[in-house]
Amino acid sequence: MAKRLWMATVAGAACLSVLGWAAPPPKPAGYVPPRTADGQPDIQGVWNNATITPLERPADLAGKAVFTPAEAAAYEKQAAESNNRDRRGKDGATDVAGAYNQAWFDRGTKVVPTLRTSLIVDPPDGKIPYSAGGQKRLDAAAEYARLHPADGPEDLALADRCILWYTAGPPMLPGPYNSNYQILQAPGYVAILVEMIHDVRIIPLDRRPHLPGSVRQWLGDSRGHWEGNTLVVETTNFTGKSRFHGATENMRLIERFTRTDANTLTYDFTVEDPATFSKPWSASIPMTKSSGPIYEYACHEGNYAVPGILGGARAQEAATK
């Protein structure tokens, strides 16, 4: 019996490494999460993933994977200063990009508790491993955006269009404000309410098959299961329009949610898309328990910005003629 268990573990580990789940398993600090009535590890509550740690490691930190506590504090101080929008820009363009007072922002003030210098933990350089093809598409998209910044609404960012925020992802990345999530669990389901654009991810746990391949959704199609105290969610069926760091519609995402202490939900994800990335890559973001509540973020209904941006572009074109 013990031998078989050992073999299963080895097989599982092999399987994980094949799948590229190279994220270090969360420290089993002896914390045992409570259980829901139907026996799921309880990850319910309102969580916030705001952090100043960037997804990719900044160039000037190349080779440095982890801050010392002092370095982290210095970094946090510097970030707080440079991010402070109450400090006016040096020229008009910079100043207008600052948008509005600091009070409106909520990016967090801390780096992640692991003191890592990037959210990406694999590859070790903390960078997204673009393939040549992926980089080419990314460059082409950038060039297109330069030539057609606001020809029509489709040229604007998904967030500008009120279609999808990075906080919803998936994967769910921290944003400049409202990086809040509420998780609810019911028998057979885990639901994640994303504050931004009131997106809800309802993840069935019954191992049903994915939607037909012809069906493509902005948030993809998620299926979950529990591995010990970790909720593992696999998402496919993305659209080709989702644009997550240049990924194609065939991107496959594995997310792992583990409650590592009463106030921390460790969120790890691995992205696979051979058409875009030379190898799978992984990131780890701690989510912190928050008192909530989640407020309504109706977006499209009051989106005066789209006519403003398009009208502005038309006015600019008329002026340059």
């Binding site: 939607l211 037909p212 012809s214 069906v215 493509r216 959704q217 659209t239």
Partner: protein, 265 residues
């Protein structure tokens, strides 16, 4: 051994669709002992937009905005893909591209079979031993299911000719005699006048009918294919079919150009 058998039984039960597991009640019976299908029924599915699984999409009419958009559906086709012959698939795609002009539903034409079943409108079954009437709210379409075969249909028609029989507790309807004018959905799925549909209606408890239709048309498909979906009983107090005589609503569309004073575009 016994344990193994019961485990196997458990496994097979858990692999059945949830609806099949719900067949505890055989449902009500008519005086002649048949499952009683009388009542007002309606599907809750997006099959009318596209039988196959589909993501939500914008509609063909910009002014309609979200009202005209296509709601997403997981698909009701067994095996997901409708097995078109290659040239027929071209027609289906052309149908979809030009659906505003070509979809018979746009013009309030009779829905045909099986589309009548999953239009987003209720229908009423009036069941008698020799004849079963299905009255559809959409376009006041109607079909009589003959429980005794009246012989081949003399001419082709939109709703075809339906002959029924009971296989155990399932009403099996063999439908032929169709013209080639109706579609299966708004996605341009179509058929020829060789269409042959076999429908199966099975009560699962008093308030749900399981519906299956096997579709065969040698001119269009490489093999027969099947759709299935539950149909639910409408249970509002005093529920009744109301009129959806839509001809009046399409007169401007179809004849407006011939008016003495055409409306301004």
């Amino acid at each position: 051994m016994i344990a193994a058998a019961s485990v196997a039984a458990m496994l097979s039960v858990t692999t059945l669709p949830a609806v099949a597991q719900a067949t505890i009640s055989r449902g009500p019976r008519t005086a002649d002992g048949k499952p009683n299908l009388n009542g007002i029924w309606q599907v809750l599915t997006e099959a009318n937009w596209d039988l196959q699984g589909h993501a939500a999409a914008a509609g063909p009419m910009v002014p309609l905005g979200a009202i005209g958009a296509m709601p997403p559906g997981q698909g009701v086709v067994e095996g997901e893909e409708i097995p078109y012959k290659s040239e027929a698939l071209v027609t289906k795609k052309a149908n979809f591209a030009d659906r505003l002009k070509l979809d018979p539903e746009v013009k309030c034409y009779l829905p045909g079979v099986p589309r009548a079943t999953y239009m987003p409108f209720p229908f009423q079954i009036v069941q008698t031993p020799k004849f079963i009437l299905i009255s559809y709210e959409y376009a006041n379409a109607a079909r009589t299911i003959y429980m005794e075969d009246p012989g081949p249909a003399p001419v082709d028609s939109w709703m075809g000719q339906s002959v029924g029989h009971w296989e155990g507790d399932t009403l099996v309807v063999d439908a032929t005699g169709f013209n080639d004018q109706s579609w299966f959905d708004r996605a341009g799925d179509f058929h020829s006048d060789a269409l042959h549909v076999v429908e199966r209606y099975t009560l699962h408890g008093p308030d749900m009918l399981m519906y299956e239709a096997t579709i065969e048309d040698k001119n269009v498909f490489t093999r027969p294919w099947k759709i299935s979906m539950p149909i639910y009983r409408r249970q509002e107090k005093n529920v009744q079919l109301m009129e959806f005589k839509c001809v009046e609503f399409v007169e401007e569309l179809m004849y407006g150009q011939y008016r003495k004073k055409p409306a301004k575009q």
